[in-house]
Symmetry: C2
Subunit: 507 residues, 2 copies
Amino acid sequence: MKTFLLVAILIATCHGLVRLRDPVTQRGPQKFENSIGKYKYEVGYLKVPIDHFSFTNDMEFNLRYFLNTDNYESGGPILFYTGNEGSLEAFAENTGFMWDLAPELKAAVVFVEHRFYGKSQPFGNQSYTDIRRLGYLSSQQALADFALSVQFFKNEKIKGAQKSAVIAFGGSYGGMLSAWFRIKYPHIVDGAIAASAPVFWFTDSNIPEDVYDFIVTRAFLDAGCNRKAIDKAWLALDELSKSDSGRRYLNILYKLDPKSKLENKDDIGFLKQYIRESMEAMAMVNYPYPTSFLSSLPSWPVKEACKFASQPGKSQEESAEQLYNIVNLYYNYTGDKSTHCANAAKCDSAYGSLGDPLGWPFQTCTEMVMPLCGSGYPNDFFWKDCPFTTAKYAEYCMQTFSQISYNKTLLRPLAGGRAFGATSLPSASNIVFSNGYLDPWSGGGYEHSDKVQGTVVSVILKQGAHHYDLRGAHPQDTEEVKKVRAMETTNIKKWIKEKARNVRRFN
Amino acid sequence: MKTFLLVAILIATCHGLVRLRDPVTQRGPQKFENSIGKYKYEVGYLKVPIDHFSFTNDMEFNLRYFLNTDNYESGGPILFYTGNEGSLEAFAENTGFMWDLAPELKAAVVFVEHRFYGKSQPFGNQSYTDIRRLGYLSSQQALADFALSVQFFKNEKIKGAQKSAVIAFGGSYGGMLSAWFRIKYPHIVDGAIAASAPVFWFTDSNIPEDVYDFIVTRAFLDAGCNRKAIDKAWLALDELSKSDSGRRYLNILYKLDPKSKLENKDDIGFLKQYIRESMEAMAMVNYPYPTSFLSSLPSWPVKEACKFASQPGKSQEESAEQLYNIVNLYYNYTGDKSTHCANAAKCDSAYGSLGDPLGWPFQTCTEMVMPLCGSGYPNDFFWKDCPFTTAKYAEYCMQTFSQISYNKTLLRPLAGGRAFGATSLPSASNIVFSNGYLDPWSGGGYEHSDKVQGTVVSVILKQGAHHYDLRGAHPQDTEEVKKVRAMETTNIKKWIKEKARNVRRFN
């Protein structure tokens, strides 16, 4: 269960580490100027119904958005980020591609927050306290929020945008949302860039449940890790944990926080999981230049990590040290961390850096049930915790949400695929699905190869990690990502032209 | 307001008049043999969640379906009727086209009831008593019920159907649902016949709000009614209502029930409305052979009615009599009605024949806000009650649903168009939209002419009333409807083949 939880959280964490700065300039009610790094935007809120699909509750709440119209000219397109499971700032900062496009397209840039994340809490600080509140957290409600937002921007907020093209952007779960937004609301969204969107990662999809760790392993081995080194190192940890002296060695080597010190041999499971998670995460953010997205990291961090495990350790201690170097690279590259807390259950802030730590887990305990597990040799260099079963997962959900009257009939493994399609998207059009070969989430991507079907383009970045293409241009960018962004730009322009043609035809 | 209400209700009434017969044979739990006219089916129930889009309520309820597999062969298609606003029996009886198709296609025939209608009451006889219950009545919840139903039939109920093609059928609101079912769930539905579906009848659609009565008027004039006769007759009613003797004359002429007798000149409004509604309804069911769909009627009832008004009456009395003959043809063709009750507010059973009289009005007071009104000369031969305004409509809604904590923020005029598209359906494919030139609802149909765009076909039946093509073959069928059904059959076969190709490709 833990693996899945972690990985599930990682997709959330992905964008969760950016500091929220306070508004610096106030301009009338609910209108602020804000900035993240080099990007500046107005912060606003719009009212949306708590329930778009039923009418038992007439409540409305404030959904947060960021808007920049510096480059916008009347009638220009709206580039619309479909916020995912985290505070909106991170998406604004890490989706430089949209900002880069705005001048050429004379576009408005919009980011809309996903309900129940960041500042878009329908019930304020009570939002996560009861299923009757948190139950309104769902992907389809979020999509309906976005649809209403587009109407708001076109008809009220952005001058001259009534007939503008709307292009959705999103990465990861946000990429799933951007694709589904186009598919479910084609009359509102004219095209979508869905980056690293595991749209076919449901229980009734055709993917192996252990594909995530398969790809993590492949990425590490391709980057120079020696499989025997890793295998030997796990064994070394097991062996060392069996004796007092071994545990003492590990506690010191790993600088383990007193709360998560190894006290008996079973505790090694926590440490191993901690290491595994750092490797899984590193595979996601394996970018060609230094980033501080999930964690501060050097360029090509997986390659960097694998320098520590290019050949089997000569002793148990050396093997243990290889893994320590890897985990320390991930969690402590900047060197300001004096201890590691490897036992999530005992650490104060197991989900410390997440604004809304239970949001994504809740989604995976209702409709976004995404099977994930490892099966060990030969699939991956971790260990077997497959199969993923709904029954096991229900236990985890019951435990995690025991305080809020969660009931396991709310775990609906077929709901996501039923709503969106688990194995095919027959009506998809005007979508670019980009996936990274290095990114474990690509295992559930739309296609596993480059392919054009009508107006749907699938592209695989051989040297791409998790939604690399959404990032802003960078001097160390690969030639490949430049080409992919150019291709995406070409498609976006085509969709904008098509929209203009349709406007002329029908108005 | 009244006009809209009536017309809104008519679309509901449409299928509401068929007697519910008791199950005759019980075969195990929740399994019955039933029959309507010549059609036989098993009656069953499947469990569906009360809320597919949020997780605040884990309740489930029983959704009713009818199933016939007499002609089904393993792997054959499922012909799936998306139930609309009424008891399911009426759809089973009045959609003979599906039954006629089954033998040739070796198909299973399925009708699934719309939640909150017929026997599919989530809260039993409490379903309409509180907004917290009735609020779960919505088109999108119904579509999600249907999606779940398809999974149930394919995976559990119908042997060998796991990879079967699913073709949706529906008429009127049911036609809107069948089109939207294909559009929103293309991974579940392979094609749809959407008959007389006013998919573009929202407040933000491009249709004139008075188009309904425009078409009613056109149908009557084309069938031989004399416009001057009708105009004169309304004036005659107004004039007669001003005097005691005139009212006495009308009370006797119209055999008015004591409860709805004209007592002062303002009462004439009720009588005029009663007549107008009968004409509006007759235009919908203007079929070439006798039917008892909304009411027992002769063949081509509009033509029959117009025999009474082919030239202006020579006196006020004669003019009043012309309208009497028309209204009596509609409400009393079989002659068993001894009185008319024209004042809905005072009649015991204003919505007598409807199983769930407040269902469709509730839908129009939430998301299905369809502007309807008359503007009188020259548009139509009624009188002006345009414009339709949301504010006015909200008043009606508040009044109608005052007992159940309805709040006018629940009236969301843009919700329907936002969810489904008010002016275009850019991702539509594998749909036949059929509309009848004689049918007032065709004013909000997908197209107003024959047209093929990709795999979407629009066809207008010049001699067609409300979803005539869905009816079973009849000796007096027009040549035109036979051709349309043949075209629809050709398309259905094409979609079934396409599905088989995709199954081979992807499995």
